[in-house]
């Protein structure tokens, strides 16, 4: 069969990132083609090029064998390409019908809207999807799952011949997923080609015909979905060589338990999470995006509310409801977004280090002791090896790695002995990464208890003494660190959905 879509040699660069390197992709009519890869593999970027949202820097895109230039979402829609975005892109203040037909409202003369036709058309689409939705309901008042259905209805309304679904089931429950698959199968029968991006391995076997795997912006392979074991697909996804030395796991069985969390929960985001952390230990948190790792960290830190759960620090129950409480208990949280939540970028290194501990430098009458602040800052600059011309350099002028060290210094000065690092090396170049790793290790050796949240498996493997894996808000397992644990084992736990088939691919 002739492919509807054929992409070859696709290149895309963003400032500082080579997002797509010579990528190819092909889609046939009536096929569900799964696009797999880790976070940041380039799947979404590739599909945004197909949907006319980004333009490729090089490469050819053919539709029905004809080379085309898709320079806007409109151009892609005109070619019959519809996309359902990963982040819902709906207008909450408008009704479902108004959302579906945005930009294509049935009109009467003088730009007047034909609201009756609008609602009627939307109702027809809902009926064809067997969906119980009111065209006049405000989208903002619907559940996330229903909003997702509206997105799908919107894409269908374009009479799309190519439908790109970027993690369509991320927010759906099992019954809703089955509904969605019925719709997908119906579309398949009508000859629509479907690109299906998902992290959920079990869905592959249920819905996909072929699988294309991407890794680090590169095309890896295209294989049949039914005759390829899931384990092989996972191996293709992670297939990176881990040339770091394996972590040496110290014997910590005698060490004091620094942090104990039990029954932590909040709605669907965090479901009954419990673990313990010893002094001197590095506990890695692995999982796919949206698995709930950051949510757990923020709940422990008191930055977000929680429905339930106990937190014990050094064996004592503590009540943490605000970050202030957490810091008082000796818990520090280093956000993945340093610029927004970690640093006052316009201030200098000295002030940033002292920021959380100003009471230490406050003399009589509230006057700050600049001398002491300078000495302390210079101490930490030496100790952590922060590369800066002086302690009065503005932090925004430092590199990512040195900014991260400045944040670490801030929390160390605050006497935090439980440190939660959320994506500590995001936006930091490769050379600086290993320095941060060494710093985290020396912190653990000094007896700090360290949690590292990371989406990069090699980083988790490199650092963790134990590895906690999360999926959909649940802690699906804790694996030992060291060379006996494989990336495949972590991936399996990270995709182990509740009440779903085992990710090995056998039918239960």
């Amino acid at each position: 069969m002739a492919p509807i879509v054929k992409m070859t040699g696709i290149e895309k660069r963003f400032p500082g990132v080579h997002a797509l390197k010579n990528v190819q992709f092909e889609l046939e009519p009536g096929e569900v083609h799964a696009l797999m890869g880790e976070n940041g593999a380039g799947k979404s970027t590739l599909m945004k090029i197909l949907a006319g949202i980004y333009r490729s820097d090089a490469g050819d895109l053919s539709i029905d064998g004809e080379s085309v230039e898709l320079d806007s979402p409109r151009a892609a829609q005109d070619r019959g390409i519809g996309i359902i975005h990963q982040e819902l892109s709906l207008m909450n203040d408008l009704t479902t019908a108004q959302n579906i037909f945005i930009g294509r409202e049935p009109r009467k003369s003088f730009g007047r809207l034909d609201e009756n036709a609008l609602n009627r058309n939307a109702a027809e689409i809902f009926a064809s999807m067997n969906l119980n939705l009111d065209p006049k309901a405000n989208v903002g008042s619907l559940t996330i799952a229903k909003q997702q259905m509206v997105e799908i209805a919107k894409a269908l309304s374009y009479k799309s011949r190519v439908l790109i679904m970027d993690e369509p089931t991320a927010a759906l429950n099992d019954a809703e997923i089955s509904e969605l698959f019925i719709i997908i199968n119906r579309l398949k029968a009508e000859g629509v080609g479907i690109v299906y991006i998902s992290h959920k391995m079990d869905e592959l076997k249920r819905i996909a015909d072929r699988v294309t795997v991407m890794r680090d912006g590169e095309y890896v392979a295209t294989v049949g979905a039914s005759d390829t074991p899931i384990s092989k697909i996972i191996a293709m996804m992670v297939g990176r060589e881990v040339n770091e030395e394996p972590v040496e796991v110290p014997d910590l069985s005698e060490a004091e338990i620094a942090l104990e969390v039990s029954g932590l929960s909040r709605g669907k985001d965090i479901r009954d999470v419990g673990f313990s952390l010893r002094k001197g230990e590095i506990l890695g948190f692995a999982g796919l995006m949206g698995a709930g790792r950051t949510e757990v960290a923020r709940a422990i830190f008191g930055a977000d509310p929680r429905d339930g759960g106990d937190i014990r620090v050094h064996g004592k129950d503590v009540s943490v409801t605000t970050p202030h409480d957490a810091v008082a208990a000796g818990i520090g949280y280093l956000s993945e977004d340093r610029k927004h939540f970690g640093l006052a970028t316009g201030m200098n290194v000295r002030d940033n280090i002292a920021l959380a501990s100003l009471d230490k430098f406050t003399g009589r009458g509230g006057v700050l002791d600049d001398d002491a602040m300078r000495k302390t800052a210079q101490d930490y600059i030496r100790k952590l090896g922060i590369r800066t011309p002086s302690d009065i350099q503005e932090v925004r002028l430092l590199s990512g790695g040195n900014q991260q060290k400045t944040v670490i210094a801030k929390w160390l000065l605050r006497n935090c002995d439980i440190l939660i690092f959320d994506e500590p090396t995001r936006g930091i170049d490769v050379g600086a990464k290993s320095e941060i790793y060494k710093l985290l290790e020396s912190l653990a050796e000094e007896g700090k208890a360290v949690i590292v949240i990371s989406s990069e498996l090699p980083e988790i493997m490199r650092l963790s003494h134990r590895i906690a894996v999360m999926c959909e808000g649940r802690l699906t397992g804790i694996l030992p660190g060291g060379k006996d644990t494989t990336q495949e084992q972590i991936m399996q736990l990270a995709t182990q959905r509740e009440a779903a088939m085992q990710p090995t691919g056998e039918t239960p």
Partner: protein, 335 residues
Amino acid sequence: MKTVEETKPVNLLSRLTDTGAHQKLLAFASLIALLIAFSIASPNFMQTSNMIAILQATSVNGVLAIAATLVIITGGIDLSVGTLMTFCAVIAGVVLTYAGMPLLLGVMAAIAAGALCGLCSGTFVAKMKIPPFIATLGMMLILKGLSLVISGTRPIYFNDTPGFDQISRGSLIGEILPSLPIPNGVLILFLVAMAAAYILGRTVLGRYTFALGSNEEAVRLSGVNTDAWKMAIYALAGGICGIAGILIASRLNSAQPALGLGYELEAIAAVVIGGTSLSGGRGTIIGTLIGALIMAVLTNGLRVLSVAQEWQTVVTGAIIILAVYADMVRRRQAK
């Protein structure tokens, strides 16, 4: 599958009231409460003449507030409505008094000048990506300056244009119903409000006004030319400021070039009291009308009670904070 009942014929009133109904109910209840309180406090308040004075005082601010509402629903802000009004009045003065053109032409010129200036603001915001606050702040000062330059800093009188003062001060209703001498300015305010409500609720332009304020990126990804529509909305708002310019010039029978600064804040206050969200996506014309009325009733009522003008300003400020706080509380409960 739920069947969709046939949509009923358009009921403009229900159209005006179906979004953000709660805040408007609150605003409406506050308006009634204020009216009752002032009538009890002073017998002079509930006089027909005083009521008409309140309506007349609402007319200019009301029209400006409607213009501000349109822009605010897109998630923007327009600080230039006040000085744009003055600029349009000066343009009318130039066309009518200096050039001696016919009345209709002067009115058209004022509205066209408003729309053109609005289009400029819209271009700064949509095409040049200047934040609306800054773009319209710049326009506000440019227009204030231009008004003074064009008029030579002197008021332009309309004594040579018969009937000009009747645009605002005359009363078509009064000629039909002599017991109800509602000035034309008020009539125009209500016509503008009806038109704006219709555009917001029933036309493509209105749909995109809400959509832009709700999630601009989503609208853009749907293939809509968001820049062009945004410019159109700013232009429409500018045209409405032109109407306000005619109203105030007619009421004063002159274009006062030094006037206008401060009107934008009163207009925005009326919008906010009326329940339109400053973050965009939600808002109604009827709410804005009620907001403008509340401000006029407050000013008038406090004056009738001989409260010093300084205190009237203080009370208005407090009302704005209360109104927005009530909206915040409501939204937190809705979550």
